[in-house]
């Protein structure tokens, strides 16, 4: 018996522009197709400035009012969320979609006890009050493995370590028992052991609650360990989307190939590490149709004039005119 996995998120042709880029016509997130099944773990990788976080903000309903979002389809659990101001977001934001941000200490209110911050969110989504709320907060703290929850509820973020704050963030993200957890660079800025602990906690919680998880990172090694499927973004475009195994053994987009070569885990010595020439193109100026063309050794005129569509078998989609074989 073949059970078709259930679609959780369906995004077609998503484009996000900012006023500043409207003149040059370059979208900050450009023609992005994205889907996520229930319980699926997907990693979104790319350099800083590739539009990963912007996509995450769009998905979690906190896009800045200055951003202009357009899409052919933006469905979450069958609900149309294409309008970021729609009141359909109420009941989904924070409840069905939880987000763990980077830099956890700054991402928590500095003047409110962490227990109170978790309680605010639990009260909002699970309608608990008083004693029941108190117990739920302690449970939430225990679930993210905070030692001595009864002691920590009265702590302020500045009294806790970065890793501890990230666990508090997770407790907030999990408070509504969401169907989708977005981890936006959730491990950036933490030391390596803490990173590993946070990632394993993330996986364990997501599996226990049958949540889908979108893991956004510029750390390929972490993404590889975490996800079933990897999406590679460059300058606002998705360039490759493949199963973890395929992407790391036989990447098809030159950018993905360059990224995997630039990952320390794949190199024995520092000298074997290779950087990627150039940088993310400046979207305020005119850019080639394939935005990687300027940095690509295989690029020809077609790459500069015609945007490649994401195509190929479902576990090895690539948007490239000259894919590696």
């Amino acid at each position: 018996m073949n059970i078709q996995p259930e679609r959780l998120v369906e995004l077609n042709n998503l484009t996000i522009r900012f006023g500043a880029n409207a003149q040059s016509g370059n979208a900050t997130v450009d023609h992005v197709d994205f889907h996520l099944d229930k319980g699926e773990f997907v990693a979104l990788v790319g350099e800083s400035g590739s539009g990963k976080s912007l996509l995450a903000h769009a998905l979690s309903g906190i896009l800045s009012p200055a951003a202009e979002m357009k899409s052919d389809r933006f469905h979450f659990s069958g609900v149309d969320l294409s309008d970021p101001k729609s009141n359909k977001w109420h009941g989904i934001r924070g409840r069905e979609i939880g987000v763990v941000f980077q830099n956890p200490r700054a991402a928590l209110s500095p003047v409110r006890k962490v227990g109170k911050q978790i309680a605010d969110v639990i009260a909002e989504h699970r309608f608990l009050r008083k004693q029941a709320l108190k117990e739920a907060v302690l449970e939430a703290l225990a679930a993210v493995r905070i030692p001595d929850p009864a002691l920590r509820v009265d702590a302020y973020p500045h009294e806790l370590s970065g890793g501890m704050c990230q666990r508090i963030m997770m407790a907030i993200a999990l408070a509504g028992d969401p169907a989708l957890l977005i981890a936006d660079e959730a491990t950036t800025g933490l030391d390596t052991t803490t990173q590993a602990a946070i990632v394993s906690l993330l996986r364990q919680q997501a599996e226990a609650r049958h949540m889908a998880c979108l893991f956004i990172s510029h750390d390929l090694a972490l993404a590889k360990d975490f996800a079933h499927r990897i999406i590679v973004m460059h300058a606002g475009q998705i360039v490759e989307e493949a199963s973890v195994d395929r992407l790391f053994t036989s990447p098809r987009h030159p950018y993905s190939a360059a990224l995997t070569k630039a990952t320390p885990a794949n190199a024995a010595t520092v000298s074997e590490l290779s950087g990627i020439p150039g940088g993310i193109p400046d979207l305020r100026r005119s850019v080639p149709a394939c935005r990687f063309a300027g940095r690509c050794e295989f690029a020809d005129t077609q790459c500069w004039t015609e945007r490649p569509e994401l195509a190929g078998p479902p576990d090895a989609l690539v948007a490239c005119w000259r894919p590696l074989s």
Binding site: S60, I62, G94, L108, E124, H125, Y156
Partner: protein, 337 residues
């Protein structure tokens, strides 16, 4: 908390000592001879010398200073020439009138300033933001006594909505004699709502005049801090967590800027105590400000000294109170010592 309170109080002592020394030196440097004033216009050189001896002005400055400080400790601020009363009694009987006016104006200025600032921060460049700029600029640019006169002209003389600017209560009412001297409180305690309405009617114009002066700084500080904090990471977290906008705005955003706003409110209170002096004169308000002006005009030095010293005490007390409130508002605020 008690330890902290006492340590802050100890830190305030040098400030007060400095003020006492300064007042002493300044009054000794003032032109004119107090002994001649006290002796009266018909006095001879001999009787002036006698008075000088009586007042202790013939002794050396350090000796005089010691006597002055001793007097301060026993609550003796000298005697007013014009009223014949002890300066301390005069001030004590007048302080509630000034404080009632100033504190109400502060409450109004803070409330309106915060609302205006928060509203302006939600849409920078929008209508409320422009109103915020206009109110701040006008409030700072128009002298308070002028605004007071303008309000009296429009609302008393032209429209007849406000009562005559002749003090705290129309003579039709009997003076409330409660324990606090704050007439709003006293009439409320006595349940005398009729007199309360009279008190409030007299208070309205001077309170608005003073408050206009304070709205600007509070609104501008609130606006600037809010704009910054609304873009911060933890507000993004609160939004992404699905908290309702009002909760994000007040519990998360505003709560975190409470300390800079509170500091501004403290500063405004100090301004208002100063601005009070002229506003009281305009509205015939029997407070300490009007008392100080009358004393200056009459070259009556003891009340001026008493007034300056009282103001210094109030400033120190306000700053101490602000620091303590800030400490309870923001867990990150810590004082050394």
């Amino acid at each position: 908390m008690i330890k902290l309170f006492s340590s802050r109080l100890l830190l305030a002592l040098p400030n007060l000592l400095g003020v006492v020394i300064l007042i002493f030196i300044l009054t000794r440097m003032l032109p004119g001879d107090p002994a001649a004033y006290f002796a009266g216009p018909a006095a001879t050189q001999k009787s002036i010398e006698e008075v000088r001896k009586q007042l202790g002005l013939d002794r050396s400055l350090p000796e005089q200073f010691l006597t002055y400080v001793q007097g301060l400790f026993s609550g003796d601020l000298g005697r007013s020439l014009t009223s014949g009363q002890s300066v301390l009694d005069d001030l004590v009987s007048r302080v509630p009138a000034s404080l009632e006016l100033t504190l109400l104006a502060l409450a109004l200025a803070s409330g309106l300033g915060i609302l205006l600032g928060v509203g302006a921060s939600l849409r920078p460049g929008g209508g409320l933001d422009r109103l915020c700029s206009v109110v701040s600029i006008l409030g700072q640019a128009v002298p308070t006594f002028f605004l007071g006169l303008l309000l009296v002209f429009v609302f008393y003389y032209k429209l007849g909505w406000a009562p005559a600017p002749l003090g705290r209560l129309d003579i039709l009412y009997s003076t409330p004699d409660g324990p606090t001297g704050f007439w709003i409180v006293d009439t409320l305690v006595a349940g005398d709502l009729d007199t309360l309405s009279g008190v409030l009617r007299q208070l309205t114009l001077p309170v608005v005049t003073l408050a206009m002066f304070g709205i600007g700084p509070v609104a501008r500080m609130t606006r600037a801090s809010m704009i910054e904090v609304l873009n911060s990471d933890f507000i993004r977290t609160a939004r992404a967590a699905g908290l309702p906008p009002s909760k994000v705005l007040w519990t998360y955003a505003f709560r975190s800027i409470a300390v800079p706003v509170l500091n501004t409110v403290g500063m405004v209170l100090s301004f208002l105590l100063g601005a009070n002096v002229l506003v009281e004169k305009v509205f015939g308000w029997p407070g300490i400000g009007a008392y100080a002006i009358e004393s200056v005009l009459a070259s009556d030095f003891a009340p001026i000294q008493g007034f300056v010293l009282l103001m210094a005490f109030l400033y120190v007390a306000i700053n101490l109170a602000i620091d303590l409130i800030a400490l309870s508002l923001d867990p990150r605020v810590k004082f050394d010592g």
